[in-house]
């Protein structure tokens, strides 16, 4: 019913109402008829009994059984009367109808005056009186088939009326619903085509001046408003699109300029570092020659200066090498493959054998997954982080380095390297991964400040992130993530 169309609902309501009223009317009518018919039956049969009792008084008074039987035989005109008889004033059976019936079928003695309904029969006893003298009793038994026939007829009539009413009600409902439904259906059709075609210029046709007309007007007004807003929205949209395109163009321009600048900067730093190497090699070479030639000439102070120059030259050379590597990495292609990290980490640890010689470092390496990435670059990440850990735990009594994966990486693997070394001030945590950014003095812990910048660059090229936690004197944890 919920899914039925309004038309069906409307017809159902009309027909349901009319049929219910009809059924109720019929029920009341039949009930009333039943009561009145029964009353009429009782009245008719009582009247008849009175008549017969009156007519048979003389027959009883003068013991004329033949006449009594003749009087009773008139009853044969009424097919509903099953049996009748007369008792004399002593209660003996005096005459009976039908005469062929055995006398045992009649009540042996007359019952009390009055009537009753008994198993589909009407039974009546009526006293026969003449001048108030009791002469006998009249007994009458009638079947109720008259009543039954009557109600069969009524049922048939009711059936015909109901059937006719269904047809008429359906026809009328079908006609009447058009006046109510047409405006609704027209409105619904318009609404549907508006929502399907997104054409807000459509208007519903007004068919009546009632609430539906009001609804149609409101709907049309609403459509008008929507149309207006739609138009202004479209205008705004166009403007926004224009602005967007403009913005994009400008971003592209800037990005291009930025890329150009970056490329220039990189090639500049590459050529600078490359070009810087040649004079530095000269410095280094001539310093060696100078050392050989003038070793005897130079006093202790002179040797000290010479050594300082030598060290600075070597430091500079390393700086230039690292810079070259960093700039080279920005340009090299990423060669992705499946990398087995456990072996890779172990190899990195082994590579550090020279630095860890003579130190009692506790390594705790947890199980590591396989990841997709460039094995050479990832190895650089690990090498950097592990060598840092080894470097900054120098001077600790019981150095300890833990390597592992956080258990609940959300869509990514989060690796960590924890050490109990020098640590750092969290205030500078952002600067850790910058180029040439150093939190320690070079005479405290050597280094160029390129390593972590490299780590960040490699990890971000793999689509991951890098960050760190630490406390001065209480160790540090370096994290990096790789997508799963």
């Amino acid at each position: 019913m919920k899914r039925a169309t309004i038309k069906r609902k409307l017809i159902s309501v009309i027909m349901g109402t009319s049929l219910t009223v009809l059924a109720l009317t019929c029920a009341v009518f039949i009930g009333y008829e039943y009561v009145t018919f029964r009353k009429a039956l009782v009245r008719g049969l009582t009247l008849r009994a009175e008549m017969f009792a009156g007519n048979s008084s003389a027959a009883l008074a003068f013991y004329n059984q033949a006449d009594a039987a003749a009087v009773l035989s008139v009853l044969s005109k009424d097919p509903h009367i099953v049996a009748a008889c007369l008792y004399d004033n002593q209660g003996r059976l005096f005459a009976q109808y039908p005469s062929s019936t055995p006398s045992e079928t009649f009540p042996p003695t007359p019952g009390r005056p009055g009537h009753r309904f008994d198993r589909g029969h009407f039974i009546l006893f009526h006293p026969v009186l003449e001048e108030n003298r009791f002469l006998g009793t009249f007994y009458l038994k009638s079947d109720l088939s008259a009543m039954r026939e009557r109600f069969q007829l009524y049922s048939l009539i009711v059936l015909i009326v109901v059937a006719g009413s269904i047809v008429v009600a359906f026809g009328l409902a079908n006609r009447f619903q058009k006046g109510i439904l047409e405006p609704i259906l027209t409105l619904a059709k318009t609404a549907r085509s508006v929502s399907e075609c997104k054409d807000y210029s459509l208007r519903a046709r007004k068919l009546s001046e009632d609430e539906m007309g009001l609804l149609t007007d409101s709907f049309n007004e609403m459509l008008g408003q929507i149309q207006q807003r739609d138009a202004s929205l479209r205008r705004n949209e166009g403007e926004i699109r224009k602005l967007n395109a403009d913005l994009e163009r400008r971003v592209q321009q800037r990005t291009g300029a930025l890329e150009d600048a970056n490329r220039e900067l990189e090639s500049f730093s590459y050529s600078v570092s490359h070009d810087l190497r040649a004079p530095l090699r000269h410095i280094d070479g001539f310093l060696g020659l100078l050392k050989k030639r003038c070793a005897a000439v130079l006093d202790e102070k002179g040797h000290h200066y010479l050594n300082n120059i030598c060290g600075s030259a070597k430091q500079m050379g390393k700086l230039i090498d690292d810079l070259l590597a960093f700039s080279r990495m920005g340009r090299s292609e990423l060669r992705a493959s499946s990398v087995e990290l456990t072996g890779l980490v172990q190899a990195s640890v082994n590579d550090l054998a020279l630095e860890t010689e003579g130190r009692d470092i506790t390594w705790e390496i947890g199980p590591l997954p396989q990841v997709a990435g460039d094995p050479g670059l990832l190895r650089q990440v690990w090498a950097n982080l592990l060598s840092n850990a080894v470097k900054y735990t120098r001077g600790r009594e019981k150095p300890k380095i833990e390597i592992g994966v956080l258990p609940n990486g959300n869509g990514e693997h989060i690796f960590f390297v924890r050490d109990n070394g020098a640590g750092f001030d969290m205030e500078y945590a952002d600067k850790l991964f910058g180029v040439f950014q150093r939190l320690h003095r070079a005479d405290e812990f050597e280094g160029t400040g390129i390593g972590l910048a490299n780590v960040r660059r490699i990890v971000s090229r793999h689509g991951g992130r890098t960050w760190a936690e630490g406390k001065v004197g209480a160790g540090a944890i370096f994290y990096f993530s790789l997508p799963k």
Binding site: N55, A58, A61, F62, Y63, N64, E130, E131
Partner: protein, 205 residues
């Protein structure tokens, strides 16, 4: 009864009637005689009861006439006057009429029975039964009753047929009535059609 018959069957094939058999025959004959007398007595008794029953029935009919016949108001001397049933001559009813009437009322009047030995004793009455013993004086009787609203009742046959309003007659052993409606009407009596239905209607001859 079974025993003597079986002994007879034994005796006959021998072709000789023994002394015992003779005794049995005598007993049988006497039994038949006794039964015959008994039957005769029963018939006589039945006749007697029939006679009394007939009298009872007639008494009842007399009483019933009071209900099915209407008398003119002038037949009663005062509003609460008694309703009189008279019997003229030899009374065939005995106590049965008195029993029947008892203390009954008809149309709010008490019913009384009066017996008249002969014509001279007659007082105004509403129903008069004329006994067959009065057949000889019928002319005088009807002379006296002329103009009076008295329902005359008698047995059928003979001179009674002339003026008696209601006559009893037996048809196939059943008591029936013959009514002279003309005579009754002349006496300003209205006989109920219900009563007429029960009777054979005749005319004054």
């Amino acid at each position: 009864m079974v025993e003597p018959r079986s002994s007879l069957r034994h005796a006959i094939p021998k072709g000789v009637l023994s002394y015992r058999d003779t005794a049995v025959c005598l007993a049988a004959v006497s039994l038949v005689l006794i039964l015959g007398t008994l039957a005769e007595n029963i018939v006589a008794a039945e006749n007697r009861t029939k006679v009394t029953r007939e009298a009872d029935l007639k008494a009842a009919f007399l009483y019933n006439f009071a209900q099915f016949v209407e008398w003119p108001p002038e037949a009663f001397s005062k509003p609460d006057a008694q309703f009189v049933i008279g019997v003229l001559g030899v009374d065939p009813f005995g106590v049965s009429l008195d029993q029947m009437v008892g203390n009954e009322m008809v149309r709010n009047r008490k019913i009384v029975v009066r017996r008249y030995r002969d014509l001279r004793e007659i007082t105004p009455c509403h129903i008069l039964y004329i006994s067959p013993s009065e057949t000889a004086q019928l002319d005088q009787i009807f002379q006296v009753l002329r103009g009076k609203s008295t329902l005359t009742v008698g047995e059928s046959g003979g001179v009674m047929e002339r003026e008696c309003m209601v006559r009893f007659l037996l048809v196939e052993d059943k008591l029936r009535l013959r009514i002279n409606l003309q005579a009754a009407t002349a006496a300003r009596l209205t006989i109920s059609s219900k009563l007429l239905r029960q009777a054979e209607v005749s005319k004054t001859k």
